[in-house]
Symmetry: C2
Subunit: 314 residues, 2 copies
């Protein structure tokens, strides 16, 4: 192994040891040993962050790449109503990558991790033949039987979304058009906030019947809920918390790269207008049949098809 890669690996390890909080007692052993609270089940999610697929070195500062890498996994835990506990980072790095890039990447990831009391509990490092490849595993837990699945909704349930829609993909479109953006001015794209506290509140209060994050875009992920629950849905264009006009609507419906939570609740559940500081908006309802429909601004209905959000490298 070239010396340079060894140094990179050492630096990742050191960063994790100094700044991560330890959970369990097997860290650095063959496996991490992770205790669960009594009566909890484990949650596991894995997500790739690949250069030129999920990020570009010329667009994204390294701390944003680290933040986004972990945010994807935290958002999956949030979408189950779970408590994130530990992360595992597997990182394949090209030999020419500057150490400063890795340092900042790890710093961005650990900053987000520490805000959610998540330890970096392990991982793997290797040299990549071409491009940066990160695979993040987030381990969490949830009281047994209480995970909020995609499959729990039924006709008549109301449909809700957290936060606002479209800003992440709007920033991405600006980058694609060659604009230079100040990352801190576009946090929805560069530093998305996983809705962990909202997910936990909905689970604790038993408010949500189904939930998903909309990292693949609202229309696609609503499709997943409908499919898993054997139901249809109607969405009201004018209810969407998005920029106005047709462009705003398209970005809100089909823009991905978004870490809001889409959830359903029985109509008699009182859903707060705001949870953990995040606005909650009712945007539609679950229907019989398997079709998704959009009620347009003029009141006409059209069929809503999954928009098929793809990452920008493909």
């Amino acid at each position: 192994m070239p010396l340079k890669e060894k140094l990179l690996i050492e630096r990742v390890r050191r960063a994790a040891t100094v700044r991560g909080q330890r959970v369990g007692h097997g860290i650095g052993d063959d496996c991490a040993v992770l205790p669960l609270p009594r009566g909890h089940e484990a949650l596991v999610t894995t997500d790739f962050s690949l250069e030129d697929v999920h990020f570009r070195r010329e667009w994204h500062p390294p701390d944003s790449v680290g933040h986004r890498c972990l945010a994807r996994g935290l958002s999956d835990i949030a979408a189950m109503g779970g408590i994130p506990r530990a992360a595992f980072l597997s990182l394949a790095l090209p030999a020419e990558l500057p150490q400063s890039w890795v340092d900042k990447f790890v710093a961005g990831l650990l900053k987000l991790a520490s805000r959610f009391s998540v330890s970096l509990a392990g991982g793997d490092t290797a040299q990549s033949p071409d491009g940066i490849l990160a695979d993040i595993v987030v381990f969490g837990s949830v009281p047994a039987g209480q995970a909020i699945l995609r499959s729990g909704t039924r006709p008549g349930d109301f449909l809700y979304i957290t936060g606002t829609l479209g800003a992440a993909v709007a920033a991405l479109n600006q980058l694609r058009d060659g604009e230079k953006l100040r990352p801190r001015s576009h946090p929805k794209h560069f530093y998305p906030e996983p809705r962990v506290a909202v997910g936990q509140f909905l689970r604790e209060q038993k408010l949500a019947s189904a939930m998903i994050d909309i990292s693949d875009g609202l229309s696609t992920d609503l499709g997943h809920i409908c499919e898993e629950s054997g139901a249809g849905a109607v969405v009201y264009a004018e209810a969407l918390p998005a920029a106005s006009g047709k462009d705003g609507l398209t970005l809100a419906l089909h823009g991905g790269d978004e870490y809001e939570l889409l959830f359903t609740a029985r109509p008699n559940r009182g859903i707060p207008k705001q949870i953990a500081g995040v606005p909650i908006t009712r945007i539609g309802e679950i229907t019989r049949g398997k079709q998704m429909k959009l009620v347009c601004f003029d009141g006409t209905q059209e069929v809503l098809k999954p928009g098929g959000w793809e990452h920008f490298g493909q």
Copy 2:
């Protein structure tokens, strides 16, 4: 996303659904939900398998790559005395890769998984710019407080190894020399057997004080036990279950890519000569101080340094 990649992904998913056994109830959801037996802790391990680092397409048939990929993770669970429960496969594939390669890769992985009742519970798939990249996560469990760590040994403990040493790296050297090998004739390299049953027996019977797998080579991994336990060790060359002569010794001490278990036990523990059909050999003992020593065939002692096994692509 190109159609071809979508087909590949579909095929991986279908294979996992048809042949994997389901654990938990979140599979296909944002996270897998994995129940643990009462009083157990979770074990998590992650390992990369990268083309031209851990395998070569011209050397390794795809079912061997799939087998080796999962074996690395299962061996880490074995080294804690744990019970493997579920695996997560993240796979980045180059666009030109034939579907038949992926089918056989997945078949090799699932064949090994089903032998250990391990479900393929999730993962991620993406297109790779160059080369095949797999990241395997194995999730397991162990009764709380009973995981066998690297740090539990002390001076006076005896040192044991499972199976035999050196055959895996000997086959690798033949491949490096341009020889064609029949994979089934060299199972230690192409289809290594993780020592899961041995690890569990040692844990259940409370026989082992420390344990590690020797995927990095005996000298390096013994170094990890010594370091974590704050002790030294002596190894007897003539006790090693390896081919005779100096070459056999070097392969046994420093050859990696090996999935035997190295463990220690108090001298008063009766360690069976064979566990779960695998021979167990006493090869040395743990000493005071921090040095590792080798007692050579002629009775002289020399310092044993970690051999620094590196994967063959580096």
